[in-house]
């Protein structure tokens, strides 16, 4: 592995997005816009998302209702804007927890090696036997369905993936001479890990976090779709797709399709940006 050198060829643009290309920047704009809607959705919504109007269910597009009304006559656009919060908050919880626990385990494994390493790997291998959605269904059966139980279950399911990738990068860092020289200088393990090792694998962690966010978003929306995630009257995009199912059979697809498109656009943005961030880290190149 080569010594990391600063990239002096291109210094234009936002530092975090360098060398991700036009597509990377577009993805970042989509993600920032989605995050903005997630925070300010209630303020942005033109109408009350819970206002029921049973006289005009499935009304089409009109100046007052840009995307029309759902089966109970609620404004679809307003519900999309409000639903963004749960749709993005869930994956955020998954990513933060899975990264925190996964990286801690990975660095502990790489640093101590030996028995610690093999026992952590053994536990993670068993977790691999549980597909994320199955774990979320099990957790919903035990603790009752909610967004947070689903997010907790998925963060457990994603921890082994992150731990595996970060561990192999941390192992190769551990073997570098700079770590040995810091140890000879008498620096504590904590300070070497936090001030030298983690910053060196940080680009990899950021790329993994971006990719996992997209996957977690799909999984959480699926859990909401089968009724074991976000519970009404709260809503998210997965729940809106399932709420739109009866409408589809009668030929009114607006609610399910618009929520589905929102999910796909945000997930594509995370996946593409994640791919580009991963492509510039030496470990995954």
């Amino acid at each position: 592995m080569s010594v990391p050198t600063a990239d002096v060829s291109r210094r234009r643009g936002i530092p975090g997005l360098r060398r991700t290309g036009v597509i990377g920047h577009i993805c970042a704009v989509v993600i920032v816009a989605a995050a903005f809607v997630a925070v300010f959705g209630r303020v942005l919504a033109p109408l009350d998302p819970d206002q029921i109007n049973l006289r005009e269910p499935y009304a089409g597009t009109s100046p007052g209702h840009l995307l029309g009304l759902d089966s109970q006559g609620r404004d679809i656009l307003s519900r999309l804007l409000v639903g963004a919060r749960a749709s993005l908050l869930g994956p955020l919880v998954v990513v933060v927890l899975a990264i925190a626990v996964g990286c801690a385990l990975a660095i502990l494994s790489a640093w101590r090696g030996g028995l610690v390493d093999s026992s952590i790997s053994g536990v993670l291998d068993i977790l691999f036997a549980f597909p994320g959605i199955l774990l979320a269904v099990l957790t919903a059966a035990v603790f009752g369905p909610s967004l947070m139980t689903a997010a907790l279950a998925l963060s457990v399911a994603y921890t082994p993936y992150i731990a595996r990738v970060v561990r192999s990068a941390a192992v190769s860092q551990r073997a570098q001479p700079y770590i040995a020289s810091l140890e000879v200088q008498g620096q504590s393990s904590w300070s070497i890990c936090l001030r030298h090792l983690v910053p060196n694998v940080l680009p990899l962690i950021v790329a993994q976090a971006t990719i996992v966010f997209g996957y977690a978003m799909v999984d959480l929306a699926a859990v909401s779709f089968i009724g074991l995630g976000v519970q009404p009257p709260q809503t998210d995009w997965g729940l809106m797709v399932s709420g739109g199912q009866p409408g589809i059979l009668q030929g009114y697809a607006a609610e399910a399709l618009s929520a589905g498109i929102c999910i796909v656009v945000v997930v594509v943005a995370f996946n593409l940006l994640g791919e580009r961030l991963a492509a510039r880290t030496p470990e995954t190149r």
Binding site: D125, I126, F128, A129, F130, P131, G132, I133, L134, V137, L138, A140, A141, V142, F143, P145, G214, V218, A221, A222, F225, I226, G227, L228, G238, V241, S242, G244, Q245, I248, L249, G251, A253, A256, L257, G260, I263, V264, V267, V268, N271, L272
Partner: protein, 305 residues
């Protein structure tokens, strides 16, 4: 290793539901207060009066003989309930796996061998497909092919061989979509890489027919990464089938698991989870074994990648 993983996961499944809050007797009685004698009879019938490890051991040995106990919700043998539904799920997953392997590899080959227009189209399509959740794909398919065009039935299992294939086609496409895209992309990348390899250049310069080169030199080497991704994604379909079964109202294991989880019918949740985890682990092991067949350099016990 396989047995150890299965044993630990069976313990995790059983103990997690054992620790769940709520009283099964209350579910049975529908919330009414029962006389102590009736409670004792019920506790004895469902083995609720035994200590935890005895119950776990009884459950596990029973499960190995195909006896998963009695469903508290349905008052029936869990194994009968599962047997009635497992066929649908297996057919659905098998159908989707075929689609993934055939269409995914074909698309990847096409993109890998024809740089330019075809390649770009495949790349864009697979990027969107890879991000398309199975339930959104279901929604789009039902809306286009069932409601607007009327080509396929929207819901239900179907009767007879032809009816089943007809009823399972849209669900299988929905289930396969995202994995198919991943397999296509990996095939494309590895075919691209192999085509630039020295052994392929040599074969081309020797004037071997193109078909033979692709079959014997390109695909043979590309098979290992393709098997890895196809194996992982096909194994993950087992859990994902639950979502698609719900979307198409199919009466399979997955939709039953979700219903049982929502109604806290724990015997059913435990049994189906154990079946799904077992299939998942066994499939992953088969993929590991396949490496040794595909690439004789890989010795068993060392993981290929």
């Amino acid at each position: 290793m396989l047995l150890a993983t299965l044993f630990v996961s069976s313990f995790l499944i059983y103990s997690s539901l054992y620790l769940a809050p709520g009283n099964p007797i209350a579910t049975l009685s529908g919330g009414r207060a029962l006389p102590p004698e009736a409670v004792a009879v019920l506790e004895h019938r469902y083995h609720l009066d035994q200590p935890f490890f005895v119950r776990y051991w009884d459950w596990l040995t029973g499960a190995l003989h195909g006896d998963f106990g009695i469903s508290i919700g349905q008052r029936q043998e869990v194994s009968t309930l599962i047997a009635a539904r497992i066929g649908t799920t297996l057919e659905l997953v098998a159908y989707a796996s075929l689609l993934i392997l055939i269409v995914g590899v074909a698309l990847g080959l096409l993109a890998g061998l024809r740089p330019g227009g075809v390649d770009t189209v495949v790349l864009v399509v697979t990027t969107v497909l890879a991000a398309l959740p199975a339930f959104v794909a279901s929604t789009i398919l039902i809306s286009t092919f069932s409601v607007s065009l009327g080509w396929f039935p929207a819901l239900g299992n179907g009767e007879g061989v032809f009816g089943r294939i007809q009823h399972l086609t849209l669900p299988a496409i929905a289930l396969a979509a995202a994995s198919l895209a991943l397999v296509a992309r990996v095939t494309r990348t590895s075919v691209r890489g192999e085509m630039q390899g020295e052994h392929v250049q040599t074969a081309v310069s020797r004037g071997l027919p193109r078909g033979a080169i692709i079959r014997r030199h390109v695909l043979r080497n590309a098979a290992i990464p393709i098997t890895t991704v196809a194996g992982i994604t096909i194994a993950s379909l087992i859990a994902l089938a639950a979502v698609v079964e719900r979307a198409f109202s199919l009466n399979g294991l997955g939709s039953y698991l979700v219903a049982a989880a929502a109604s806290k019918d724990f015997a059913v949740v435990q049994a189906i989870s154990l079946v799904l985890v077992t299939v998942f682990v066994v499939l992953n092991t088969i993929v590991d074994l396949l490496y040794a067949v595909l690439d004789p350099r890989v010795k068993l016990g060392t993981r290929a990648l």
